[in-house]
């Protein structure tokens, strides 16, 4: 029998107690896995934002429109490699509750801008460009509604109205399905041509929502942003240009301090198990005082006893924590589809798993350290004398 067998046997000498501790640790790590996964996915947009991409919006607020003329003026700014624009459509399918993330865009520049994120077969892109009343949809939207290339889909807008007939609904033929080049890229969207949108809507003609531009190099970001904003200063539509990353971060912050909430809940869960497990470990070592005395009599050194007790608490933490993380991974898979909009690629990533394992080991050492030190320092005479 080696030390590990002894550790294992000690841990499970009271099966019910061990099981209960494992369950409470499991739950804490399940909460950790799910919340960390959510937080990572929620902020994924920031991390994926390309360093050389900038967003120009109306200075009043990003929901205010800008003249379409800005598109060509920004294109001419030195240091700008590519510009594209987008317009919020407020789309839904049949019932206003069935929100469809719908944008009116300029196809050629848009797909060039997002070439490292979005993947569309060239012939489908060509079909999209040549048919003005067509649209392309992302893979996850296609899956959600069962739409295929060639389908005719009525998309209603909660903002815009058709000029010709006063209808709120536009019919689009699906010209292509867009895939994401990475897991974190959300593909829950519908894109259609700005030219068609501008021609058919009843108000807001010749305006766009926002500009997305790419600089030659991230070092030029600041200069380009300043040049653009200076160009439109004192006009009726002043602009504010920022990196895509800063823009995404500011937008996420509008929902509230998500990071703080996640931190507090995970913190509360960990304090709970820390106390429960720490106390129980102390209790179970205390119960074994006599045995530890016997081990010492047999020649087990203090440090070896220390290692065995710590080993026991770390083993306990891992036995609870690893299945907890596994369950968290299953939960994230189950919820992924319904959270695709706000947190694409909701998952327990390898980084989160490693952080989790580091936390388990820390938890094990932390809960075991006081009982382990006490056991190491125990005098044989006291140990054997105690009841």
């Amino acid at each position: 029998m080696n030390d590990f067998d002894l550790v294992r046997k000690n841990l499970f000498r009271r099966k019910l107690r061990a099981a209960l501790m494992i369950v409470s640790i499991l739950i804490a790590f399940m909460i950790f896995g799910v919340l960390a996964g959510f937080y990572r996915a929620f902020t994924a947009g920031e991390d994926r934002a390309a360093a050389d991409r900038l967003i120009t919006v109306n200075k009043i607020n990003f929901t205010q429109p800008m003249p379409i003329a800005y598109f060509n003026r920004v294109r001419a700014v030195d240091g700008v490699r590519q510009v594209t624009h987008a317009n919020w459509f407020g789309g839904y399918y049949q019932d206003p509750k069935n929100f469809l993330m719908t944008l009116a865009i300029e196809p050629a520049t848009y797909f060039d801008m997002y070439r490292s994120e979005l993947d569309i077969p060239p012939e489908q892109l060509q079909a999209f460009i040549s048919d003005r009343s067509s649209a392309v949809i992302g893979e996850s939207m296609a899956r959600k509604w069962g739409w295929k290339v060639g389908d005719r889909v009525p998309v209603a807008s909660n903002i815009f109205t058709q000029r010709s007939n006063g209808s709120h609904t536009w019919d689009f033929t699906i010209a292509g399905i867009v895939k994401g080049k990475a897991e974190q890229v959300s593909t829950d969207f519908l894109l259609f041509q700005y030219a068609y949108f501008d021609e058919t809507r009843s108000f807001g003609k010749d305006t766009i929502g926002w500009l997305i531009l790419q600089t030659n190099s991230p070092e030029n970001n600041d200069r380009v942003a300043k040049t653009i904003d200076a160009m439109f200063a004192n006009s009726t539509a002043e602009t504010s240009t920022d990196t895509e990353k800063a823009f995404g971060k500011a937008f996420a912050a509008q929902f509230g301090n998500i990071a703080l909430i996640v931190f507090l809940v995970v913190g509360a869960a960990f304090v709970t198990i820390l106390m429960i497990v720490g106390n129980t470990m102390a209790l179970s070592i205390r119960e074994r005082t006599r045995e530890i005395g016997v081990l010492k009599t047999l020649g087990f050194s203090g440090p070896r006893i220390l290692r065995m007790v710590l080993g026991e608490s770390v083993l306990l933490a891992l036995l609870g924590g690893l299945p907890g993380l596994a369950i968290a991974a299953l939960i994230t898979i189950a919820l992924r589809a319904s959270l695709a909009n706000i947190a694409p690629a909701f998952a327990v990533s390898p980084v989160i798993a490693l952080e989790g394992i580091a936390l388990m080991i820390a938890l094990g050492l932390f809960t075991g350290v006081i009982p382990a030190l006490n056991a190491m320092r125990l005098k044989i005479a006291t140990a054997l004398g105690r009841g």
Binding site: L16, R17, L20, M21, V23, S24, I27, A28, M30, I31, N58, K59, I60, N61, T63, Q64, G90, Y92, P96, A156, N158, I159, T161, H168, F203, N234, S235, T236, A237, E238, S240, K249, A250, A253, Q254, F255, G256, N257, L264, V265, A268, A269, V271, T272, I273, M275, I276, G278, N279, T280, A282, L283
Partner: protein, 396 residues
């Protein structure tokens, strides 16, 4: 019967007095349960506060007219000639001068800077008609004065002033190239309007190039029942075909989405944590039974029944849970009640609200704690009741 009652009381009091001997384990259970209750109540207080702020904003006798399917004021557009048709509609109350009590309004989003994080946030700028303030209950200017019609002046809600920078009385704010003076601060009885900036409709229309349309029309009805008259009037006129809702119903819809989401997050988290705390409670109570094995066996040997041992253990567990639950509720009240927060509401703008605990919510928290205590005590109590006397008395 009486002797059984006495036995139960005796054993229960022994149980409760012996808690001190297991103070660390018992304390950890109490704190674990308290933390579960804090997490639950913090989420529920957040949802409740948000709900109260928004749902409390609407009145039954005010109709709000929006473009069909627009769902929120920010999406809606109502053309100028539609506004005239609504003015002539049935069921709308009229003032002493015979004019209909309506307020056509524009709802625009402008940038503000949040005090706590120094990040940009969406704030609503509402251009209101002449009757705008009168159509909302409890509007009171608490500092300065109301804006003058036709001038670049704004009044700001006091919640907005508290949470966002640069709107102090007398200061100048710019939205894009337009400049405005803050001339007043208003109180709106804790409603969502306190998170808004108000200005004269005509000035907002001309400075933001929105001369031909407004976004919504609010109208005072002759009574809540008049809503249907106005609704069928709009449905039957092909030039209108607008959504007509009572303001109360409109805000109730707005509130439900976000507060549902908060509650849907809060309950599963609290239940998961409660399962963790349950494991802790079971552990504590099994230890309690094990520590008192000799004592229980002795009582049984001198004629006490199993039932008092059962009740004693269960009461001990429930007491620990109740203490934890109340402690958690008290901590939530001290830490979170009245804390101000803001988030994006249904109109894509910041809504400032306070965390608000209610006796009902505290009840939910304590019940959750007691359920943990009940289950955590039940199995150990059964063990205590069934423990063979011989096992308890044999030397360990």
């Amino acid at each position: 019967m009486r002797s059984l009652l006495l036995q139960v009381m005796a054993v229960t009091s022994i149980n409760l007095k012996s808690i001190a001997q297991r103070r660390w384990l018992s304390l950890s259970t109490v704190i674990a349960i308290a933390l579960v209750v804090i997490v639950l109540l913090a989420f529920l207080a957040m949802a409740n506060g948000f709900q109260r702020t928004i749902a409390g904003s609407g009145a039954d006798d005010i109709a709000i007219v929006l473009r069909a399917g627009s769902q929120a004021e920010i999406n809606s557009t109502v053309a100028r000639d539609q506004v005239r048709l609504i003015e002539d509609g049935p069921g709308i109350a009229r003032g002493a001068d015979g004019k209909p009590l309506i307020s056509p309004e524009l709802y625009l989003v402008v940038d503000g800077l949040k005090r706590s994080t120094k990040t940009k946030a969406n704030l609503p700028l509402r251009g209101i008609g002449e009757q705008g303030a009168a159509l909302r209950k409890g509007i009171a200017i608490t500092a300065g004065r109301m804006f003058n019609r036709g001038s670049n002046e704004v009044v700001v809600g006091k919640a907005l002033l508290r949470e966002f920078e640069g709107f102090d009385l007398g200061s100048t704010v710019s939205f894009g190239a337009t400049r405005w003076t803050v001339v007043g601060v208003f109180d709106a009885g804790g409603s969502v309007f306190e998170s808004e900036i108000w200005a004269d409709l005509n000035v907002v229309q001309s400075l933001f190039n929105r001369n031909n349309f407004v976004q919504t029309v609010r109208a005072r009805l002759t009574g809540p029942a008049a809503l249907n008259e106005l609704k069928s009037y709009s449905d039957n006129d092909p030039r209108l075909k607008l959504d007509v809702k009572s303001e109360a119903a409109y805000f109730a819809e707005q509130a439900s989405q976000t507060s549902d989401l908060i509650q849907k997050l809060g309950w599963p988290l609290a239940i998961a944590m409660a399962l963790g705390a349950l494991a802790g409670a079971l552990n504590t109570m099994y230890s309690s039974v094990a520590a008192r094995a000799t004592e229980i066996a002795t009582l049984r040997a001198i004629g006490f029944g199993g039932f008092p041992a059962f009740v004693g253990t269960l009461v001990e567990s429930l007491s620990l849970a109740a203490i934890g639950g109340l402690l958690g509720a008290a901590a939530t009240y001290l830490i979170f009640d009245g804390v101000t927060a803001s988030t994006l509401g249904g109109n894509f703008t910041q809504v400032v609200f306070d965390f608000k605990l209610s006796p009902w919510l505290i009840g939910e928290g304590v019940v959750l704690a007691l359920i943990v205590g009940l289950i955590g005590g039940l199995f150990p109590a059964l063990r205590a009741a069934r423990m063979p006397i011989v096992a308890g008395l044999s030397p360990t």
